[in-house]
Symmetry: C2
Subunit: 195 residues, 2 copies
DNA sequence: ACCTGAACACCGTTCAAGT
DNA sequence: ACCTGAACACCGTTCAAGT
């Protein structure tokens, strides 16, 4: 019978994360991950179906924890946004994968539902809450990804903190106003968007 | 002396774009690009320093054209946003690179300056215009990247059109309100952002 | 000047073999 | 059951050689 396994799927994922953090996405290689675990490259394939599978697992590990239920919707949205930005800062090499991969997993659905629930609690109608979730999530992910990629490196960290605070304040303002308009008339506010 | 070149840098970039469109980022390989041009792999290196250099050139080619100067600031912002979304739809495989790579090139600076100029024309003070540019650009890029990655595939194209219209309307609303607040007090609108 | 042929180091993956 | 060794197809890149 099988001797106790030397490595596990979660160990492989953790090692891959560390390799990516240290050597970038280009340095994230199966041999590099194996070396960090003190094991042959081929041993990884017993715990991970392929490199693509490993990347999916990394994206999963990047998802932020759900905020405490008893907090206000404002606090929950703020906490999730802050957690996203934190993750981007800690794992800049693999963070872009979050926007790149479908992420149709259970955890990702929970998080999306959590944001929608907060928005409903803020008073938005179901369809407006769903739409607001899409726009807010992509805006937050977009800024975090840009920051992680060094897009704003010519600005002080303090300036970027204020950027992010303003983004959250803007979101707050829009929610207070009843969320994004859901009628087709909204498209006319900025012409050229329909072309 | 040199016979007329069979290929050029721009031909290599165009071929790479076509390969990526057809076979995805993973299929974008130097041999594949060369084959499409009817040339040996090694011939590419006379026109492109490396694959990384080629990817940078692709990102450059992805940048939208500057809108006509005589248009209103509203029209110009709308046109640029629409152009970005259009590009994402046409080149979904390489579009994510736009958020991933620094893009500190001349053209990218022109575009950023164009957005800032439009915002100044809308009445924003210099520092607010600069901040609004960062937030607007990343929000638009974020949504376009998410859409290109199939993040919203479970929604009708028509729903996504409205999403995007709402995003532009929201931006418009914030600009009319004087742009994003620039003081530190803005951070308190959504607590948890400072942690 | 531009392209080709041969070659090298490397990566993802498979498969049979070991314990 | 889990890991290893050997092997294969492939990719990015270099260099000397052809025209």
């Amino acid at each position: 019978m099988g001797r106790p396994a030397q490595i596990s799927r979660s160990a492989v994922v953790a090692a891959a994360m560390a390799v990516a953090d240290e050597h970038g996405l280009a340095g994230l290689t199966m041999p590099a991950v194996a070396a960090r675990l003190g094991v042959t490259t081929m041993a990884l394939y017993r715990h991970v179906a392929s490199k693509d599978d490993l990347l999916d697992a990394l994206v999963e590990a990047l998802l932020p924890p759900l905020p405490p239920e008893q907090a206000s919707w404002r606090e929950r949205l703020g906490a999730m946004a802050a957690a996203i930005r934190d993750t981007a800062a800690r794992h800049p090499a693999i963070f872009p994968l979050l926007l790149q991969r479908p992420a149709a997993t259970e955890r990702s659905r929970e998080i999306r539902d959590g944001v929608v629930a907060a928005l409903r609690q803020a008073g938005l109608a179901p369809d407006r809450a769903a739409r607001a979730e899409r726009l807010i999530s992509t805006a937050v992910l977009g800024y975090a990804a840009g920051e992680a990629a060094g897009r704003f490196d010519h600005h002080d960290r303090h300036v970027r903190d204020e950027d992010f605070a303003c983004l959250l304040a803007a979101i707050d303002t829009l929610i207070e106003g009843g969320g994004p308009a859901s009628g087709p008339a909204a498209g006319r506010a900025v012409p050229g968007s329909g072309g």
